[in-house]
């Protein structure tokens, strides 16, 4: 089946389409045009179409009727392009329709029957054509309506899917004829060229005075048929026809001639279009006397006020504005409702689709509604509806209520600079302020406040410190030399055993002296080590110094010099070797324990160490008679004990340490890994007492004792005093009121 061609845009559409897919123009009426009507009706439609076309051709040659040829030259020069296009399309359609008619004509067509069934109508139509060609189409329209209304029974039934070819050809002919019928083009009239156009007002006609072809179709009064119930539409139509008979064709209406009544009424109900500025189109003359006329919307036909059809009475003036535009595509002459800014943008659609009627309307949450920037987006001082009117220029010249392009668009103001107003409650405001303060504080550098020190406390500390210092210095300044304070009575067993072991050491023994104390406690260790070194020197023991601390070799030299001062018979060149610094810590000790010759080949003074008399016969640590560890650190002592002593289990080891590590290293003496131990000045004092040789410990003993006692007193009394001061103030219990 061939596709349907839209009469307005000329594009093809499917066979069963009711509305054009491209321009949304109606292709067929609500009543199924495909319903197979009587064969006579189909034949009559085709006859009517042909007669209409003949009339159009005749009108071209009638006198008084301005033909296209007569004023065609001048009119053709002033013809707008859109009109020319329409004419071309209509000509093309006519040619197509003629071609279709020629294709579908058959000898079995019920055309003769149609003619025979309604001979009166055809004869009547022919009479009307002969008498008044302009009313012929209207008469035929009326006849067609009668046929459709009181059609033969069975013929109105639409449910005949299988249509024989002959019958299909008939209904196609009828379809073609119906396509050109007024029912397919409600509210429109057909011009002399067979193009369905919207009827123009007389004011438009006055504007388009050079375009006589744009005539409003003449109303052909139709005779009333007997026995027929009077239709209100028909009565209106007849009346219009009568009025048209009285008045001259609108094409010949000159600006000076009176306007028909029906047209006046039409003009009074609609405002006039805006004057256009296009070439060839005269502007609407001011004061022409013609009231402003509105172009009625699609679907509504202007009529007189006296016998207004019911459906027309319901239509209020200006109501077309409120109705939705039914023809979104731009069609000349069609009324398109403009989208004014006064309309709210975000109104929810009131009409629901058919399949969603059961669903409740969506309710926007409050926070979402608050975020809708409705007020700030909408421009202020929006143009009201009164400003829109007739367009004065452009393609929409003479038309009102169209989409504003220039003037009204320019009235839309820019959105304000302010941010969209949000609906924020108090709690959210507080939270936002809090977040802002946190972010601002995070960027700032926080100044660390200096610890506030109470002046009283610092003065007390200074006073106590000075007192201790003074009391400690007094015995030194006095040079008491252990005459003030009593000497120790109880001797530590580890000190006694050490003394005993060294005392019983064989002469010319080799002692490995490990000097690993730091300069911070060099005073204590030097004081504690001197009696032992002196005792060894007194035994003529060969002393081999080594150190794992960088300052150890220098401290060893100092110690040796001090000890030699107290023991002048000791030959340091022969019996004293300083191997210097042993790098690597525990790793170096492990290597030294395995290969001492390779690990420390030279002395601190860069001589060959293993060629000295002391070390000539030494191949390993096992050749040493004793090991003496001098260190203030418990870790250093532990490393020496763990790394070296297990390799020489038969060699006695001794330890001189500080008072601060004595408690932690005592288990090594308790486990017999160490044979003797001296800790601090107290141990040194004991050793000196055992040696019966006063030394540095004796020089410091008085101060030491004074200091110990002073510390005890300060801690005890200071602690008690501060604990009393720090107690919370006791408040007297409040007496309870005795109530009767």
């Amino acid at each position: 089946m061939p596709d349907r061609i839209c009469p307005f845009c000329g594009k093809t559409n499917p066979e069963d389409a009711e509305v054009c897919m491209h321009c949304q123009a109606r292709l067929i009426s609500s009543s199924n045009p495909l319903s197979p009507s009587s064969s006579e009706a189909k034949q009559e439609l085709s006859d009517w179409l042909n007669s209409t076309r003949e009339d159009a051709a005749k009108n071209a040659g009638l006198p008084g009727v301005p033909s296209q040829t007569a004023s065609g030259d001048s009119s053709q020069e002033n013809t707008p392009e859109w009109l020319a296009r329409i004419r071309e399309r209509s000509r093309a359609e006519q040619e197509v329709a003629k071609a279709d008619n020629s294709l579908f004509e058959s000898p079995e067509s019920p055309a003769p029957k149609t003619k025979e069934s309604h001979p009166s109508k055809k004869a009547k139509a022919e009479e009307v054509k002969n008498e008044k060609p302009e009313e012929a189409w209207l008469e035929e329209l009326r006849d067609e309506k009668d046929t459709m209304a009181g059609g033969e029974p069975g013929k109105a039934d639409l449910g005949t899917p299988d249509i024989p070819p002959a019958e299909s050809e008939d209904w196609l002919k009828k379809l073609d004829g119906w396509q050109d019928s007024p029912e397919a083009h409600p509210g429109q009239v057909k011009d002399e060229h067979g193009v369905w156009v919207k009827p123009f007002h007389t004011s438009d006609l006055k504007e388009l005075g050079d375009h006589p072809e744009l005539e409003a179709p003449t109303h052909v009064p139709s005779k009333k048929r007997p026995g027929k119930k009077e239709d209100p539409d028909q009565s209106w139509l007849e009346k219009t026809r009568q009025e048209a008979q009285k008045s001259e064709p609108p094409a010949s209406v000159s600006p000076e001639e009176p306007i028909p009544d029906w047209l006046e009424e039409l003009e009074s109900s609609f405002p006039p279009p805006e004057p256009t500025k296009e070439k060839g189109v005269e502007k609407t003359k001011k004061g022409s006397g013609a009231p402003p006329v509105k172009i009625p919307p699609v679907g509504s036909i202007p009529t007189g006020s006296e016998e207004m059809p019911n459906w027309l009475k319901n239509i209020e003036p200006g109501s077309s504005r409120k109705s939705k535009p039914s023809a979104p595509a731009f069609i000349p002459g069609h009324d398109v409702e403009p989208l004014t800014p006064s309309q709210p943008l975000a109104e929810p659609p009131k009409e629901k689709p058919a399949d969603m009627e059961g669903l409740a309307p969506a309710q926007l949450p409050s926070w979402l509604q608050a975020m809708r920037p409705v007020e700030s987006v909408l421009p202020e001082n929006l143009p009201t509806g009164e400003t829109s009117g007739e367009k004065g220029s452009g393609a929409l010249a003479g038309l009102a209520d169209v989409i504003p392009i220039q003037e009204e668009a320019a009235l839309v103001s820019k959105t304000s600079d302010s941010t969209p107003r949000l609906r924020v409650d108090d709690r959210q405001k507080v939270q936002a302020q809090l977040l802002e303060s946190v972010l601002l504080e995070g960027s700032k550098a926080i100044e660390i406040p200096k610890p506030v020190q109470k002046k009283g406390r610092s003065a007390g500390r200074i006073l106590v410190s000075l007192l201790i210092t003074i009391f400690l210095a007094i015995p030194i300044v006095m040079g008491s030399n252990s005459r003030l304070m009593p000497s120790p009575v109880f001797f530590a067993p580890e000190t006694v055993s050490m003394f005993t072991a060294i005392q019983t050491m064989a002469p010319n023994s080799r002692v490995l002296v490990i000097l690993d104390y730091q300069p911070s406690l060099a005073g204590e260790l030097q004081t504690a080590s001197l009696p032992v070194i002196e005792h060894l020197m007194a035994q003529n023991a060969g002393l081999v110094f080594i150190s794992t601390t960088p300052s150890g070799p220098i401290l060893a030299n100092t110690l040796a010099q001090l000890a030699q001062t107290a023991t002048p018979g000791f030959d340091t060149n022969a019996l004293l070797v300083n191997l210097g610094y042993l790098p690597g810590g525990a790793i170096g000790l492990q290597e030294f324990a395995q290969q001492p010759r390779y690990t420390s080949p030279i002395t601190w003074t860069r001589f060959d160490a293993w060629s000295t008399p002391v070390l000539q016969a030494v191949t390993g640590l096992k050749d040493f008679n004793a090991v003496l560890i001098l260190t203030e650190s418990a870790d250093t002592a532990r490393i020496w004990i763990e790394q070296v002593l297990p390799t020489i289990p038969q060699t006695p080891s001794y330890l001189v340490t500080s008072q601060q590590s004595a408690a932690l290293l005592l288990p090594y003496y308790n486990s017999s890994q160490l044979k003797g131990m001296i800790s601090g000045i107290a141990g040194s004092k004991m050793y000196e007492m055992l040696l019966s040789k006063p030394g540095a410990a004796q020089f410091l003993w008085d101060s030491y004792q004074v200091g110990v006692i002073l510390i005890l007193v300060v801690i005890l009394f200071g602690g008690i005093f501060s604990s009393i001061l720090s107690q919370p103030k006791m408040t007297a219990p409040v007496a309870k009121d005795e109530t009767p």
């Binding site: 204590e524 532990r638 790394q643 410091l700 030491y704």
Partner: protein, 224 residues
């Protein structure tokens, strides 16, 4: 005493006073002495490393050693060069091999020394304390002392055990026996720490006395 010794004695005298000025609060003299100590210690250590590590263990074998010695020196030289890249934040990853070498060697030495130097001997000593042969103390007292030492050792070790048990629904917690044992261990540890604290005070006291003595010596030298 020669002049150099005299000068250095007075240098020590003033530096001691600079540090003692901290009794009155932080001041520029104390800071000067602190900064001087850091710089001198770092410089001295650098000299020691240069003369006692780099020269005898790398430079001399590489320059005057045999082919085998030279070959063997290449490995620590390469590792040492890689270790220098630790100074650069971007290239620090190159020194990971050298650091791993050091860490591995140190860990092995530590583990071996601890096992043979502390773990076995101390455990044996805790048991050997019950030996009553060759002692002058009465056996009962010796055994009592050994028992106290053993209990103290075990409870002190138990104090550092934080293992807990608990059923699926109950909060994990220690058993009551473990809580009691750890409490006893706390007593012994507190006694030891008190002794260490007292020893630290006495060591500092000795250092103060020794410094006061050196100050007095310098004063007497100056006066004479």
């Amino acid at each position: 005493m020669n002049l150099i010794e005299l000068i250095w004695t007075f240098v020590g005298f003033f530096l001691t006073l600079f540090v003692f000025s901290y009794i009155f609060g932080d001041n520029i003299l104390f800071r000067f002495a602190s900064y001087l100590l850091v710089g001198v210690s770092a410089g001295y250590l650098m000299v020691i490393i240069f003369y006692k590590v780099l020269i005898p263990k790398i430079v001399i074998p590489f320059s005057t050693g045999s082919t085998l010695q030279k070959t063997l020196v290449i490995i620590p030289l390469a590792l040492g060069t890689l270790l220098l890249f630790k100074l650069s934040p971007r290239l620090a990853r190159l020194g990971n091999v050298s650091m791993g070498y050091l860490v591995g060697a140190g860990a092995a030495v530590l583990v071996g020394g601890v096992i043979f130097g502390t773990l076995f001997p101390q455990t044996g000593a805790a048991v050997a304390a019950f030996g009553i042969s060759g002692t002058t103390v009465a056996p009962g007292i010796q055994i009592l002392g050994a028992a106290i030492l053993l209990i103290g050792t075990i409870t002190s070790l138990a104090y550092f055990q934080f293992g807990m048990r608990g059923k699926s629904m109950d909060k994990p917690r220690q058993s009551k026996l473990m809580i009691f044992i750890s409490k006893v261990g706390q007593i012994f540890i507190a006694v030891t720490l008190g002794a260490l604290f007292a020893g630290a005070m006495l060591a500092a006291l000795t250092a103060l006395i020794e410094r006061l003595g050196s100050l007095w010596t310098a004063i007497t030298l100056f006066l004479h």
